[in-house]
Amino acid sequence: MDLPPVLRSEKGAIETIRKGVRKRNRSQIFLQILGIGAISFAFLMLAILLLSLTSTGYKAFVQTYLTLDVYVDPAEVSEEQLPRGGFDDVIEAALLQYFPEAGEDRATRRALGGLPSNGAQFILRDKVAADPSRIGETIRISVPVSDPYDQLNKGLIDRETPEQRRRVDNREVAWFDALKEEGLIRTKLNWGLITRPDSRFPELAGLKGALIGSFWALLVCFVISFPLGIGAAIYLEEFAPKNRVSDLIEVNINNLAAVPSVVFGLLALAVFLGWFGMPRSAPLVGGMTLSLMTMPTIIIATRAALKAVPPSIREAALGVGASKHQVVFGHVLPLAFPGILTGTIIGLAQALGETAPLLLIGMNAFITSAPATPLDASTALPTQIFIWADSPERGFVSRTSAAILVLLSFLIVMNGLAIFLRNKFERKW
């Protein structure tokens, strides 16, 4: 044998092999370090994102409330006039009991009346309208304070700022502090964030409309894209002849999955709204648009799941005389189902966070009521975030972050569900 010179002696051979092993170990460690570095970087970014969102957003999960005993003056509110009446004047009068000196001029009285949220009068009105016999009685109500005071209470308005640059002047700070001393100011968990619809006033604004809008849109999206996507995938995978046409279709579907979402939005604007005359801003149209995007994802996931079912299953079924149809629906599809579900849920999670196509079909409107049906105009979670991020009022800064956290938690739940289903039903071959 013609060995290279270094290997001719035994010692030399061992030395060379050792060197080689060392070198390979080094490169493996290097690769590991790179991998750990990449993962840590990704996690660091995620941590920074979550931290910055939580640090601005957590303040929106609580809300400052004012408790007031309001005398429902029959001179201001009468049963015949309900639901109209001078509810704001009644609340102003209740506040004036604490600060009689503020009643002297109109401007001061107005300023004091601006301490509780603009929505306070409607909260009182709804209570009285529900039980008109309480006119003439004193009712205890708990109402959100208006945004500047809420910011003050949360420390977002700095008391050290010179007065003319502060949203609340010294007099207003003094009122607030006096009420706080009386124990009338409380900080409560802000359920309104998910139970109230949108509002111009940050202290009243909530995500109810957006949540329900997103729900309808996703439901429509699921109803359309799930059966169509699975149907298309089964045909392509199991029945379609393998030729140029089916290759072309496959390439197109893969391309479709990569088309930017704004293109689907423009398509929906032209076709659904333009030709079919469907209503603007409706979750039905939003869901149809999203389904255009989700369908390719579902087709691809379904085909992958069908491919993963071992041929032996098909062959065994065919071998005992099952028809092609029976093989697919009786054996292959049930076994592929966990994979299909996972793909579908991930596709829907993508659709939940999609903004651009919804903006184009008008789902970024300002609407102060939640949609009752998929045909009513509404917003969706991401478009609501878009609207809030663009609002000038300070209170929306933290609400935007809070809304993003809500959206993220939905995404985490959906992805978690996908992983759970996969682990629970997945079959190893």
């Binding site: 619809p197 359309i224 469907m278 603007r280 609407i367 102060t368 009521s369 663009d390 000038p392």
Partner: protein, 345 residues
């Protein structure tokens, strides 16, 4: 197959329901300018809270986009009201006429100032003339009698009394009504003040043609429509400026300070009496054919025109709208509530 049948019936049902939804509409639909948007939002909320009617659907589409949708025709699938941060153009009026939208009421609801502002951390007492603003931001300026590319990099190159800091201004993109208004009210006016233009005897057309372009060499940055983002950038760099509608500045006075223009600070008073030069009127347009057809539309218009909303100290002025004078307001309320038709452009 069974599944397919089911699916088809679902789709068919959807289409049928949709078709019936197009025929009738309970809620008022409003489109238009993003500047008028917050005011319309406030009125809508007040209106639906106090009457219990379904809440109007308010969409911020921009002035031009709003006009396009508004003028598409009459019927429940077209909006009832559009907001505008400038008056309707002749071309838009013609589009409306062509599509049968002939009876329109114009309502000028008040004024909005455009302000340049910067972080409170900056110590200098900024006071610029329109001419200086033009020289800082235009693409082409006169230098030694020659009309050429803007060479100015720092404020002190324009006026030695200004600080020696780099010019950096964040402003709205060309799609924004705020940008149109800024070009027209600040840039064109500043251009006309230039000695070069006055001595050269150039007319308005010349100014419009040559003074409308903002510079693109890095001193003026188009920052998108998100004003909150601009505020963060201004705080990060105390020497940079932002261009905002006054209502936005008004909400952020603790972080931002306005630049005085020709010695005048923006405030509701100076915008109303026009001593602050960069202000614009705000409008909305009502499709009169829809009054009485869309439920409660008249009530909504009355709410918009009420003293609670429009008067100084009303809830729109709390959001930064600068109110009209008493007699102009009275005329406006009368004309709009009674649906006075505009006669053309």
């Amino acid at each position: 197959m069974k599944d397919t049948k089911k699916l088809l019936s679902v789709v068919g049902l959807g289409a049928a329901v949709t078709a019936s939804a197009v025929m009738a509409r309970d809620e008022i639909r409003i489109v238009g300018s993003s500047t008028v948007f917050p005011y319309t939002q406030a009125v809508s909320e007040q209106f639906s809270n106090s009457t219990g009617s379904p809440s109007p659907i308010v969409e911020s589409t921009g002035t031009g986009g709003g006009m396009k949708i508004f003028c598409q025709g009459i019927g429940a699938s077209y909006p009832d009201v559009t907001g505008a941060s400038r008056a309707m153009k002749a071309s838009e009026w013609e589009l409306c006429q062509e599509n049968g939208v002939t009876d329109i009421t114009e309502a000028m609801i008040g004024f909005d100032g455009l302000s340049m502002a910067l972080s409170r951390q900056n110590d200098f007492d900024w006071d610029l003339s329109l001419e200086e603003i033009y020289l800082a931001l235009a693409a082409e300026v006169p230098v030694d009698g020659e009309w050429q590319e803007n060479p100015y990099r720092t404020w002190s190159q324009i006026n030695p009394e200004l600080p020696d800091t780099e010019i950096l201004v964040y402003g709205p993109p060309p799609t924004s009504g705020t940008r149109d208004a800024f070009v027209e009210l600040a840039m064109h006016a500043g251009c006309e003040e230039l000695d070069y233009v006055q001595e050269g005897g150039f007319d308005g057309d010349w100014v419009e043609e040559n003074c409308s372009r903002m510079r693109t060499d890095g001193q003026f940055v188009e920052a998108g429509e998100n004003d909150n983002l601009i505020v963060q950038r201004l705080n990060a760099d105390p020497n940079s400026f932002g261009i905002f509608g006054y209502s936005f500045l008004f909400e952020n006075l603790d972080a931002l300070k306005p630049v005085a223009i020709n010695g005048v600070d923006p405030s509701p008073e100076t915008i109303a009496d026009k001593s602050y030069p960069v202000s614009r009127p705000l409008f909305f347009y009502v499709k009169n054919a829809h009054r009485g057809v869309i439920p409660n539309m008249q009530v909504f218009i009355e709410e918009y025109m009420s003293e609670d909303a429009l008067a100084p100290g009303g809830y729109l002025s709390e959001r930064g709208l600068v109110s009209l004078s008493d007699d102009r307001r009275a005329r406006l309320q009368d004309a709009v509530i009674n649906g006075k038709s505009m006669s053309g452009k």
